[in-house]
Symmetry: C2
Subunit: 150 residues, 2 copies
């Protein structure tokens, strides 16, 4: 585990790449779909065939959740990563069974928080790719980081 980071340790242009890929299995796609996004194309191969996705595809919210896990594994914030809001998520290609996804995180901005004393806000872009280096998702997400000087 790399050393934990305070707000002051973040800077614009800093990058964090996921340490490996995450394989997204048909089982995980269906299990997540049943719980949180119960639509035919997230539940069943055959039903997916006749749909917009022309096959089984991961819920975008499953992809977003896997990307959160990568963020936690990749960016060690002192006290944990506390979300401060999402500015954008785009799902640019379906994630299919057995796709292996990875993420690249770049710091776009750092600023003090006006509402949370002792914290700064780190603004990040995350690009998510499959094993063919096709972009499947991108997002802009903010999180809090405690100030060393607080």
């Amino acid at each position: 585990m790399p050393k934990e980071l305070y707000f002051e340790d973040f800077y614009v242009g800093q990058t964090f790449n996921s340490l490996g890929g995450a394989k997204v299995t048909a089982e995980e796609i269906k299990e997540f779909g049943q719980k949180y996004d119960p639509q035919p194309f997230h539940l069943d191969e055959a039903a997916g065939e006749g749909s917009f996705f022309k096959g089984l595809a991961a819920s975008g919210w499953l992809t977003a959740a896997i990307v959160m896990r990568m963020r936690v594994q990749t960016v060690p914030v002192v006290g944990g990563m506390i979300g401060a809001g999402v500015e954008e998520i785009r799902w640019t290609l379906p994630v299919r069974p057995n796709d292996i996804i990875r993420s690249e995180i770049e710091v776009l901005g750092v600023r003090q928080s006006s509402s949370r004393k002792g914290f700064g806000i780190v603004r990040t872009r995350t690009l998510v790719y499959n094993q063919r280096n096709e972009q499947v998702m991108r997002s802009v997400v903010n999180f809090l980081a405690p100030m060393k000087t607080a």
Copy 2:
């Protein structure tokens, strides 16, 4: 199940309320945390006590996933609800074990898709409340709906 909706059935100001509340258990918080957001305050009551959240709290991505399920249950789009991107998510209060959350969806805009022939884009705001009617999340999400005239 209400009748399925085409793009032409959506209009600005239209609302869809979740049919009931979803109880968020400590078990679900921990299970989701272990899989997708493995941080102490999503995994363990005692570890959560010493954290920013002062106790166990749901991952914001779990809340977002539950809200997606409510969206599927509440807004019956012909062919299924295909995400066309998120413009904003804000988590305004922690979701705690045994909180019961509900959602109110309002259509903010409708427009034809320039990239997806035969589809329109429905822009929606979702407000999410707990059992004390405190807002815990809000979001602006777009989805595709097929055109009846296509």
